[in-house]
Amino acid sequence: MSLILSVAIIVFIFVVIFQIAKASEYVSILKGEEASRQQNNKINGFLMVAFLVLGFVGIYVCNKAYYGKTQLAQGAASVQGEKVDEMLFVTLIITGIVFVITQVLLFWFAYKYQEDKNRKVFFFAHSTKLELIWTAIPAIALTVLVVFGLRNWFFFTGEPPKGAMVVEVTGKQFGWIFRYPGKDAVFGKKYYKNIDPATNSVGIVWDDTYSKDDILLEQTMYVVKGTPVKLILGSRDVIHDVGLTHFRLKMDAVPGIPTTMWFTPLYTTKEMREKTGNPNFAYEISCDQMCGNGHYSMKGVIEVVDQEEYDLWMAKQKPQYFTAFPEKDPTAVPVAAADTTAKVATAKM
């Protein structure tokens, strides 16, 4: 019913606007087409300059309302992110100046040079000097941006410093799997045909000795504040993308082709909760590449903690090998009492 009503109202409004427009056409014929054209020209000329002024007011209002809700207001949470933000402001200033100048000229010229019977137009077909000027100036400005951008780009995509932590991230429809290499700091081999959703979600090859201490986790990963972390990304099914808004980075997770990214987190999750005043703050991993109907809910979390807390957490992790083959778990089999304490420890996590 409400649908019919709103359709009826819209149709009614259309009819009214249409009739007025029709009538104005008849009036213009009565008044003399030339006279009414000149009048319309004046109105539109005025609207040009009005639009310019209201536009800048609108930009101010929009900025006031929404700047605080962007990441820029909150500040970046990684070394890379700070560079991104810095570059963003430089780009904003350069493009902002061009934006203001060109928009002002456009709407101002439109207003100023609106038709006037007495004006004689200036036959001005070309000027090599002017054209050279506005080829050269953008070229110089862009060179600055390119140099600045490429320096950052090679830093972001270059090798992480020695001693960086390494974590493997695998996307699947619709969630994230994290693998830590364990004590030997080397990942065991994997092959996708070994994937078993219950016990071996990334397809680790158990025959490989390096695989025995690999740790598999879902949903949440831990990294250490101030320590560079390198992520090796992959996907089990379709292309996903590890979007790290707070660290200002993202990289696709492609099936069959490993990709990498690295960053150095600057604040622990706890520190960010205080900094942002949001007790629920989390470093969320968002999937940024369309991956199917659950795309919008493909969330992971990065817990940034200090070294001490990380060591404690790591000590509690059990290699996936023992989950896949419980009978080989040395802590589980020999003494029954030890088994229960281990279970309590896991339950507490």
């Binding site: 456009l106 036959f123 099936p255 969330k299």
Partner: protein
Amino acid sequence: MSHEAALHNHEGHESHGHDDHGHHEHHDTFLTKYVFSQDHKMIAKQFLITGMVWAVLGGLMSVLFRLQLGYPDASFPWLESILGKWAKGGQITPEAYYALVTTHGTVLVFFVLTAGLSGTFANFLIPLQVGARDMASPFMNMLSYWFFFTASIIMLSSLFVETGPFSGGWTAYPPLSALHDASPGSKTGMDLWIISMALFVVSSLLGGLNYIATILNMRTKGMSMTRLPLTIWALFFTAVLGVLSFPVLLSGLILLIFDRNFGTSFYLSDIYVNGVGALSNEGGSAILFQHLFWFLGHPEVYIILLPAMGMVSEIMSVNSRKPIFGYMAMLGSLFAIAILAFLVWAHHMFVTGLNPFLGSVFVLLTLLIAVPSAIKVFNWLTTLWRGNIRFTPGMLFAIGFVSLFISGGLTGIWLGNAALDIYLHDSYFVVAHFHIVMGVASMFGMFAGVYHWFPKMYGRYLNNSLGYIHFWITLAGAYLIFWPMHYQGLAGMPRRYFDFSIWESFKQFADLNRFISTVAMIVFAVQILFLINFFYSIFKGRKVTVLNPWESNTLEWTTPINPGHGNWPGEIPEVHRWPYDYGKDGHDFIPQTTPVGEDETETH
């Protein structure tokens, strides 16, 4: 006057069924005149009206998914009555949301802004402005439309498939688009999508070859290449871009068909699908498709934008009563853009794991495009400077185009820089950028063209007041919708999200989303107003009584008010000068057909 006869023969009957005036020349039946027409002007109108149908459908789709984004918790029972199982309980399902987003993108980019914009105006303007009776091959031209029509029907039919239309985004990246089991939309819907796109490629190749052949071979006497209006140059580069890049998309799609249905592994490797298990495909590259796709996809942006630029240059010069500033620079920048269009595709792929050095080359080439773009903007501004501007609705949309092109072009400098793209990629910042610079700006170019050439198309005027309302609300609306989206992008909000409520980082924009959705609906309604104006004016608009209503220099205004097939009843006029002699030596305008006088200051 020989014009009179042709004028009366066609009067007012360009587009509806009664053909009782068709007794001149040979007998045209309804079928040969309106359906299987080989007249470029009729084919142009067919492209335009089919494009309009798609624009309404595509726009309606955006209204529906904006409803979800703006009012994620509300339920609209009427949605269930029109969408059925896709909106159970009055709320759009994620499947339906992604199908709508995907179809909206595909349809707007290809069917509206490629076929509807460049198909319409290339067909309409090329023969009229170069001084030809028709296209080089009118029959191929007709086929071009009918391939497009068939592609449209197949795309439309995919909306009614049980598993739904394709829903993996208009870029159709495999493996999502290659695996039937990865998403319901990747089943039959995707096969139909590919077939439709393949037919569309055929259509655009048939059209493009024709446009190139006509421009190169069929110019009238005296119409040297540097005397062509900038519209024709823009349409020429557009056609070249299309002919060179669409086949690459087709090859990519063919490989995709093989991967989908015949067990090959061009794009597939190491895949385990939930509920199906490990697939046997090994050794393919999912990224290969992206290279093939964007090798078309980026030139496609210019295929959409160049015709708009050309028309804006022409309309701006006519209505400023002043020559376009820097004709050769405009031409050179079009050429530069056309070349660079082929060398920047990988800037869509900075975060796919692309080799960083290769990435840096693409940064450089991408930002280089800003130079010819800047030249064009400054030249448009200088064209306005010290002119005598008539604000016809066409001129208003041309000015709006420049404003939007500046706004959207400048954010391209952000996104083209890989180190910023690594943050902004696939966020709402990108959505804002390409909607302003490619979507709305090109739409403005299209509107400018429709308002400007409507009198030539139908021998009647559009209603001016409705044109003004249409322009101002659309311009303000476009900025109100897309400007705030930059802020969402700077908050990292990813595009193609059905719902943001579970995200601590992105859920702070609920009120803004509602605002954007509301404005989007108003703007959509105003476009309907334009369509009413359009169709009403075809039959009932104020009649054109003079040959050259805008006092323009170009050749199309030397034809009769309602030109027949063949355009000029007598000889095709000869051209003596470039098309931009406005305000020269005290003359308001000097048509191209006027011979150069002895005392003229400067000849071109």
